[in-house]
Each structure stands twice: as structure tokens, then as C-alpha cells.
Amino acid sequence: MEAQEKIRSQLEENDVMLYMKGSAMFPQCGFSGKAVEILKACGATFDTVDVLSNPDIREGIKQYSNWPTIPQLYIKGEFIGGSDIMMEMYQSGELQEKIQAL
């Protein structure tokens, strides 16, 4: 399946989706690790895609959102941001609200 199509179906199937380096259990990058910690702190149920083991998704997701870095968080298919934006939204309580509203 083509990368963009694969991404679209992943986002349709998962309300809270994190594209990251490594897994939630073993993040391979500090920013991805931070993103996982933030989602856990929000009490979120989330799925992850490891872009390191999916090179086509790694490039594809950057095109999808016009965003050059990983991690990337999506809620109900909407691109929320990278780890800096996640942290800001967590600190203001906005992220918890979005997740609890699901």
C-alpha cells in the first residue's frame, strides 16, 4: 500500500496516534520519549507507529503534515503537533481536555 494511503487508514483506525522513533516501551529518541510520557500523563490510550522500522512512513508522514520532524501526534485524524507543542498544550491543560473529550 502506498504510504499516504497507509497513513490515512492508520489515522482512521486510531483516535490517538503517535508517529515516533522506537516504541512506547523503548523510545529511540529523547523527543519521542517525551511525547510518550506526556500522553501517559494525560491518561491517554494511544497507538504508535515506529518510523525507524517503516522508512516509507517516516518520509510519508512528513509530507502528510508538512512537518519535518518526528514525533508527530494526531487526535481523531487531526495533526496536533510535535513534542514542543504537546508539552505546551499539556502545561496549559489543553491536551488533557482534548483526550478526555474522546
Binding site: 529523547g30 512537518w67 503537533g81 510535535g82
Partner: protein, 82 residues
Amino acid sequence: MVTPEDIKGWIEQGISDCRVEINGDGQHFYAVIVSPEFTGKNRVQQHQLVYKALGDRMKAEIHALSMQTMSPEEYAARDGAA
């Protein structure tokens, strides 16, 4: 090696009238960027402007950049709150 001043210069070239405060060690950088170009844009759109200014350097030279972006109004509000 990329210096904080390099990144500051690239951002300033790409975004009009911006103020950039940046720290970093050549690997990890942390930037606060304030510009009127950010007014009326959400965080994602603000960061996209910075990424656009940095272009392909995000793929090669710059390994890890954290940033906070604000319009002058947001910056003033933050100062007021702090």
C-alpha cells in the same frame, strides 16, 4: 558544527522582523522566536514557518531543535502572566 548563531541567522532571514533567543551545544538547540508574522496563526502554522525558514537544514545539519513561537501579543501576555 552548527552554532546557535547560525540557526538564529537562518531563522531571521526567513521570518521578517523576528526576535530569536537561542541556546544550544551543536546537537540540541532551544529557541524562543517572536514575530508579528505569527499573529493569527496557530502553533502548528507558526512552527511550520520556522521549519520553512530552515528548509533542508532540518534534514541535515540540525539534529534536535526545540522551539517556542509567539506573536508579539502572545509574548506580552506571557510576560504579564509570569
